[in-house]
Symmetry: C2
Amino acid sequence: MNTPYHNNQEFLSHISIDSVVFGFHENELKVLLLELKDLEKYALPGGFVKKDETIEDAASRILKWRTGLDEIFLQQFKVFSSPDRSKDNPTIPIIKSLIPNIDISFYNDRFISIGFFALVEYTLVNPNPDELSIKCEWVNIDDAKNVIIDHSDIINGALEALRIQLNYSPIGYNLLPQKFTMPELQKLYETILGKQLDRRNFQRKILSYNILNRLDEKRVGVAHKSPYLYEFDLENYQKALENGLKSGW
Amino acid sequence: MNTPYHNNQEFLSHISIDSVVFGFHENELKVLLLELKDLEKYALPGGFVKKDETIEDAASRILKWRTGLDEIFLQQFKVFSSPDRSKDNPTIPIIKSLIPNIDISFYNDRFISIGFFALVEYTLVNPNPDELSIKCEWVNIDDAKNVIIDHSDIINGALEALRIQLNYSPIGYNLLPQKFTMPELQKLYETILGKQLDRRNFQRKILSYNILNRLDEKRVGVAHKSPYLYEFDLENYQKALENGLKSGW
DNA sequence: ACAAAAGTGTTATGTCTACACCCATGG
DNA sequence: CCATGGGTGTAGACATAACACTTTTGT
């Protein structure tokens, strides 16, 4: 079988992409990580840029392979370029042992990595490991610690970018299932921000954007009072994206 | 004389840097552009990344060469990667004609460009052209039109990033001389944002950040009532940078 | 019936907006 | 002395923060 790692001559040298894929499940913010073979370390899903595609197309292609999803919300947020990051990359021995005849010089070069973050609906993802990894799985963001190279910096940078993004666009649409409750949306915000928010003030503020429709349905089978279900009002949601949520200056 | 264009084997292939250097003068927002030889086109100051430096160091080195300034406020904001951007790069013929024996294949490769924006104090800059350009000069941002490749996109992206930055940090420090008046600071904000602001509300908001000291001096020799001079309170300014200006959520 | 969570409302506080007035300066 | 811009203040609209009561559900 041909994998991306064989055909390194179709990629641009020195440039890689690493994506922090965020998902939300059971009130926890998760990140998609690969567990590498023979190491007890994790890595971000990443890859390289083909000679005729944009970095956005590359990130999209890579994540389609990892998650099965088309049309992922993706955003570049920072380039990571420390010269040290290319030293002692623990995936190189794995590649060498798995593909003995490979031209390893491509991987031994210095790489500058473009960081993307992605927002996906947890339940739609089919995590798919590659030949370097034993598994691809969701990890709670607080537990995403034992990672290679500077991937910890990349994760932190992505979270920071996500927090800023929260002030400019209504993030929930990409992370939640179609129907969701107000407390679920609030938990999402609280988890991203890492702080508690007032229930009533949160609801008022979110509703003031006019991007949610309350349905005539409630979440049943849950303990205590049944909360209403909401969905995003796509038309107003698009408008809100164009105008931006905050004025600032 | 040896210039960067000769020694292309010391650079990473496929990766370039383009910087949008903002300055503020006579109530206008300016951008530093190079006028290319034999073309009636302008280009952003840019360059390549050495094999052992970060992109931030590269951007800093390149701008030191162009402006004479150390310690420039610099921030990466976006990577530009359209495959088309490497076709018909009008600087390649110039390089070829100026340096006949050069290995042009480096420049003929596809380049992905990392966009930075820089904020500098206009009066401190000594614009310095390179061998490809007849001059390096300040151009009003509205007149920065006749530029090569996608440099127009890069300028627009930088301006957008600067506008967002305005909500997170007090920009004026890097763009204004040490002493300045409130109307000057306001004009800077108005120019960046492209809209008028209320004089009194602006002053109140800026002062509420507690990052300015009003001096016992006024600008003299100017028509009408003499405005007070202000300077940044560096201690509080640093604090404000750490905490961020806006809470948002 | 009770505990726990959800729906809804109120009040105080602060921030933003839109103005009006007086003052100083150069012409 | 006057036109122009700068310094300062204030009232209303609006947003935010803090908090209380009622309702619904599963147990």
